[in-house]
């Protein structure tokens, strides 16, 4: 089991009454405005269970009663598994784990140049994330632009699964991709039943706000649901554009997406493990671009986490956002603002290690820098332990006035737990820093990346499993080519 961190007293910025108001606004909207769902079978199922369905507009008006009933069917605990038990993460209340970033297009090199990701990058990013201690699970990270777009998700997934021992959450581009990744994962753990017991992969397929589930996304979503495998829900509403400009309105929009997805999942396959989520951000009113690393994003993420706790569900939110294009000063402060507040609220899964430029890009050095930022923030979230041992009255009495504590056994015993110890941050004297080449954080991260990539190799899959994964890839490729 991976330990992650435990947040014993989660931060709350909304009162219970305010949470109730958000909930009421969400169920009213789902009941009055309704949700557009491009899927005949799902619409029929919803109608049979008491929703008012207009087949012409494809809008289902879902009553509160059905929402509450379906909420009751969602498992309250999920364990995301790794290939081996020591990489399992139990998503229980107060336990928090960190993920790497979603599918980027570009890799930023240390000199700030953007280049398209390659298959080699997928493999190297997977290995690097596998080695970094504070990263508990992986996401899409980078997609190989060398692979034709219709096969890109399938090849990315096979390379990732070959090179990570950690849990892998991935948004495939289509349902064929979802089927392929499920088959690959089943080959690794044994079969599909075993995969439900030990889900080493999980999915997501966000709807398009406001209130719309398009066919492609819904087909992916249903693939995970039908297999009874964990799936992350919530969307990416943009406050002021695809959601109301008010933060409360944006949170409601995302919550409606979550509730609609919960209803769909439980109507289709009751008991499907679902993680609440969402990435609420805002429109930059100067440029019309997406401001993913805004202070509002941090506030809204806390609210999504609080709502998940209100419903008693596990929660997965993206933090660690930045709009900075390179690992610069803006990157540093945006990442901390984007992460610290939501982390204190106790998300089960959060972060997006490696994220640059609103997740369009990533960088090896950024992944290592983010591992460092996470270390600091996790230390804050863990808080201060107060008891007879930590109060250290005996030790102080022993040392007395004008003494020092470095020679004490108490120091030796507790320093690693009490203090966070940096990996690459510069804390030496100015002279020491100069003598070592006056390197900035990107240079130091670059050296660390080289060190890991030259040494760290995840345990390889057996030849038999590798062959089976290749077979799944080729099979999916054939099906996709036939369709076209």
């Amino acid at each position: 089991m991976r330990q992650g961190i435990h947040i014993s007293r989660p931060l709350k910025i909304l009162t219970d009454d305010e949470l109730y108001q958000l909930h009421v606004a969400s169920v009213r909207t789902l009941e009055k405005t309704g949700y557009m769902i491009e899927h005949m079978n799902v619409l029929e199922k919803l109608e049979n269970m008491g929703s008012e369905v207009d087949y012409r507009t494809k809008i289902a008006k879902i009553p509160e009663q059905l929402v509450m009933e379906m909420l009751g069917k969602v498992p309250t605990k999920i364990t995301f598994c790794g290939r081996k038990k020591d990489n399992d993460i139990a998503l229980e209340r107060g336990h928090s784990f960190a993920t790497s970033t979603g599918a980027s297009v570009y890799v930023v090199s240390p000199d700030g140049k953007y280049r398209e990701g390659t298959t080699k990058d997928v493999e190297r990013f997977a290995r690097l994330a596998n080695a970094l201690d504070n990263i508990d699970l992986t996401n899409g990270m980078i997609e190989s632009q060398e692979i034709p777009h219709e096969l890109r998700d399938i090849y990315t997934a096979s390379t990732m699964l070959n090179n990570t021992e950690k849990h892998y959450n991935y948004v495939t581009h289509g349902s064929e991709g979802a089927r392929a990744i499920i088959r690959m994962a089943a080959a690794i753990v044994g079969d599909e039943d075993r995969l439900r017991e030990r889900p080493i992969v999980s999915g997501a397929a966000p709807p398009s706000p406001p209130f719309y589930y398009d066919k492609t996304a819904l087909d992916i979503f249903l693939e995970w649901v039908k297999h009874g495998l964990p799936v992350r829900i919530g969307s990416l509403p943009i406050s002021g554009a695809t959601a109301p400009v008010t933060l409360a309105g944006t949170i409601v929009e995302n919550n409606v997406d979550c509730l609609a997805s919960i209803v769909i999942s439980q109507v289709v396959n009751p008991g499907t493990p679902v993680l609440m989520g969402g990435l609420c951000a805002n429109l930059d009113m100067r440029t019309g671009t997406l401001a993913q690393a805004s202070p509002e994003q941090a506030l809204m993420a806390v609210c999504v986490i609080q709502l998940a706790h209100y419903y008693g569900l596990p929660v997965f939110v993206f933090t660690g956002m930045t709009n900075a294009k390179i690992p610069d000063g803006q990157m540093g402060y945006e990442k901390v603002v984007s992460t610290l507040l939501p982390l204190l609220a106790g998300p089960n899964v959060h972060f997006a290690a490696g994220n640059l430029s609103s997740a369009i890009a990533t960088a090896y050095e950024q992944l290592v820098i983010d591992n460092e930022i996470l270390g600091m923030l996790r230390r804050i979230a863990e808080g201060i332990e107060i008891n007879q041992v930590t109060l250290a009255i005996d030790v102080m009495e022993k040392v007395g006035p004008r003494g020092h504590f470095l020679e004490q056994k108490h120091t030796l015993e507790h320093f690693k737990k009490e203090h966070w110890i940096p990996l690459i941050s510069e804390r030496r004297s100015v002279d020491g820093w100069r003598a070592d080449g006056a390197k900035d954080i990107v240079r130091r991260a670059e050296e660390y990346v080289q060190e890991i990539l030259s040494a760290h190799q995840p345990e390889p899959l057996s030849e038999e499993i590798k062959k089976e994964i290749d077979h799944v890839v080729k099979d999916a490729e054939r099906k996709i080519r036939c369709k076209r």
Binding site: H173, A241, T287
Partner: protein
């Protein structure tokens, strides 16, 4: 109220992002017998142009600019209905806009459409998930000066290239300038897709539309 006051009021209603006032002064212009083309060109156009400048300088924000655009269009509808037959209003250019096949994202395209309209372009928005054939058909039908192709997803980018190729095949490519945008597009991609220009945001797209038309 004389003509000059009516023009000034129309200008002001754009600058104040006030559709209600814009409609009111458009009606007054018609009642006062003002030439509708003059009311557009001397009243609305300067207002929306100045609003666009203010936006670029950071004095005005996107929701204000967009509401200013709504004010202009509302007034324009009233005025255009009174333009005598045979007379035509000058436009900066006609733009056909759409999100390519397989991609249902429209917010970026909508922002670009608003900005283009605010800058005096005539915009025909053909929506999202637009099949390549529809782009070709609409180019034939509407004879736009510029075709703007949007795509958010990396997986749907190739459809932009398809549209360029289809226009080529239909013998229409030389008649239009094709510009591409969306989160996944880039300058390199623009070259690969055989388009005439790329912009990374809505302001850039408006500048680009003017640039490719040499305005």
């Amino acid at each position: 109220m004389d003509e000059k006051d009516i023009f000034a009021n129309l200008t002001e209603s754009c600058l104040n992002f006030d559709p209600e006032a814009a409609r009111k002064y458009a009606k007054e212009a018609i009642e006062a017998g003002v030439d509708p083309i003059e009311a557009i060109e001397k009243g609305l156009a300067p207002g929306i142009r100045r609003l666009g400048e203010k936006f670029e300088n950071g004095e005005v924000f996107l929701p204000e600019l967009i509401m200013g655009g709504v004010a202009m269009q509302d007034a324009m509808k009233i005025l255009e209905s009174k333009i005598p037959q045979g007379k035509e209003r000058k436009i900066l250019g006609r733009v056909l806009l759409g999100t390519v096949r397989g991609d249902i994202h429209d917010i970026g395209k909508n922002i670009v459409a608003s900005l283009l309209k605010a800058n005096g372009f005539e915009v025909h928005d053909v929506g999202v998930d637009v099949p390549t054939e529809v782009f070709v058909q609409k180019v034939r039908e509407l004879e736009p000066d510029v075709v703007g192709l949007s795509a958010l997803l990396t997986t749907t980018l190739p459809a932009q290239k398809e549209v360029v190729a289809a226009l080529e095949q239909a013998g229409l490519r030389k008649r239009v300038k094709v510009i591409v945008g969306g989160a996944a597009a880039s300058r390199d991609w623009c070259v690969e897709a055989g388009a005439d220009g790329y912009a990374g945001d809505a302001v850039g797209a408006t500048k680009l539309a003017k640039e490719v038309l040499g305005k």
